[in-house]
Amino acid sequence: MPLSAPPPASGQPYLLSASLDNARHLSSLLRAVHFQDHATCFATANGLRVTVEDAKCIQANAFIQAEIFQEFAVQEESVTFRINLSVLLDCLTIFGTSSLPGTTTALRMCYRGYGYPLMLFLEEGGVVTVCKINTQEPDELLDFDFCSTKVVNKIILQSEGLREAFAELDMTSEVLQITMSPDKPYFRLSTFGNAGSAHLDYPRDSDLMEAFHCNQTQTNRYKISLLKPSTKALALSCKVSIRTDVQGFLSLQYMIRNEDGQICFVEYYCCPDEDITEAEL
């Protein structure tokens, strides 16, 4: 049931206006990248991208394409603003987070432009809530310059196989070491914690392996505290693609199917902690 918001007094349409029958389609994706309070929203005719960064080392992006929305209109080429993601999520889930079948929160989102707050109209069971969230100057975002031509190693795994591994990562280890190789151990996740080291090996011929394209043996270490939040995205996803480039930058792309079966993506980019070219076993 689309909500109709009053048009702005000046008669100009909102810079960004969108309607969504089920706010969960947005909130669940945003939660998957919620490891910092602030996020940058970037909207184009194609859809909405929400970016969260930390320590200048990690960046997560949630993509909600225009097709997911019942209505999605952007008046300029692109609209960008910074917003408090914690507050945004609290508002989107203002009617509660339990997902009872049949009860959905409808959302209408409007943004008038630079300096104006983001307006949210949320409705569930006849009850309407109006939220106005202040927006800020957008931050400059990192550009990992990750394009397919620079990719050295790439694998696509079914998320089922990784979920447990990530949930049970030894957090006493400072780093998560990822080894990708055309030879054994093919794909290995390692931690070095207080009790000792742990290695998780996925063979290339495993049923979980959807695609395996490794050209070079690479071993890279990433700060585990930075990667741990990606577990949320992993939990929601059905498939994940893991790619590394020449510099050891890591790209994790998660394919997420929402309640209505529509596909969305979340991606994480991470800088390596140290440069290790030899596999350390």
Binding site: E164, A195, D207
Partner: protein, 305 residues
């Protein structure tokens, strides 16, 4: 042990995904390797660091124990459930008429009158085997016993209790085709002989305990009501135990242990306390205040002393 346990932390997921588990020891690298072979060809390898420590060998012989009891773990587990979780020690005794009783142990006689005393009696037929010296009783640490019971109940194994006189260790054993478990606990030594009922409190007018438990209980209740006004605070009479006034023994191993704890020599294995798991009362030979009647039950393997 914590690091080893953390490998098997999530039992439900282990059951679903793990096919086989390989455990190897790499002494040169000081690593214990636990390798789990999981579904989809995934291999999880844990390299746990360990340190060599001195080996202690407990000296005990179940054959030399005067008494033994055997029961399904469930029976004993259901019995200990009645005692508070914080209770440290429990007294197991063989009373007249074949009753096996469990009672919470209260150290101080003065405390006894202020504390709740719980006594649970099990009939002989609840046990699979009963071969006890009549009137025998021992006091041991309940916490460790509970731990063993949890394991035994889960594996559905009968538990055998071998014990001797107070002060000698009690040995709990579980026997199975695949494994053998021995839990050796120290027991409180009691220098007073159990066979002499003390004459304190003038309770000789109490009815003699009979074989029938119901009668015992009734006469006990009557005795409680009548003696309460006549005597001062004293040990409440128990129908199954011959009345005695437990006093902390002078050469109490617990006290000894605590003294020795302070005089620990660096580089030797730590003195095990009274409540130690698996090893009975360990007393370093030549330690201070060693009572002549105490024998060393577990020697240092390097025999330096």
């Amino acid at each position: 042990l914590q690091s080893f346990l953390s490998v098997f932390r999530s039992l439900p997921s282990l059951e679903k995904t793990v096919g086989k588990c390989l455990i190897l020891l790499k002494p040169q690298a000081s690593r214990l390797v636990v390798q789990l072979h999981c579904k989809y060809g995934v291999t999880k390898t844990h390299n746990l660091a360990f340190q060599e420590c001195e080996r202690l060998q407990a000296v005990f012989d179940t054959q030399r124990c005067a008494s033994s009891l055997r029961a399904p773990a469930r029976v004993l587990a259901e019995a200990v459930v009645h005692f508070p979780q914080t209770l440290a020690e429990v007294t197991l005794g063989a009373g007249p008429g074949g009753k096996i009783s469990l009672q919470n142990y209260v150290e101080d006689e003065a405390e006894r009158s202020k504390m709740m005393v719980t006594e649970l009696c099990l009939a002989e037929d609840e046990f699979q085997t009963v071969a006890v010296a009549p009137g025998s009783c021992i006091t041991f640490c309940l916490k460790e016993f509970r731990g063993l019971l949890t394991f035994a109940e889960a594996s559905n194994l009968p538990l055998t209790i071998h014990y001797d006189v107070p002060g000698r260790p009690v040995i709990f054993t579980l026997d199975d085709a695949v494994l053998e478990v021995h839990l050796v606990l120290a027991t409180l030594s009691d220098t007073e002989s159990n066979s002499q009922p003390p004459t304190a409190n003038g309770v000789s007018h109490l009815p003699a305990p009979s074989d029938d438990f119901a009668d015992d209980l009734e006469s006990y209740m009557i005795a409680m009501e009548t003696s309460a006004y006549e005597e001062g605070p004293g040990v409440p009479p128990s129908p199954t135990f011959p009345l005695r006034t437990p006093r902390p023994a002078e050469s109490d191993p617990e006290q000894e242990e605590e003294e020795e704890e302070e005089g620990a020599v660096p580089g030797t294995p730590p003195h095990k306390k009274f409540r130690s798991l698996f090893f009975g009362s360990v007393l370093t030979p030549g330690g201070p205040g060693l009572a002549p009647t105490q024998e060393v039950l577990a020697e240092d393997s390097d025999g330096e002393y």
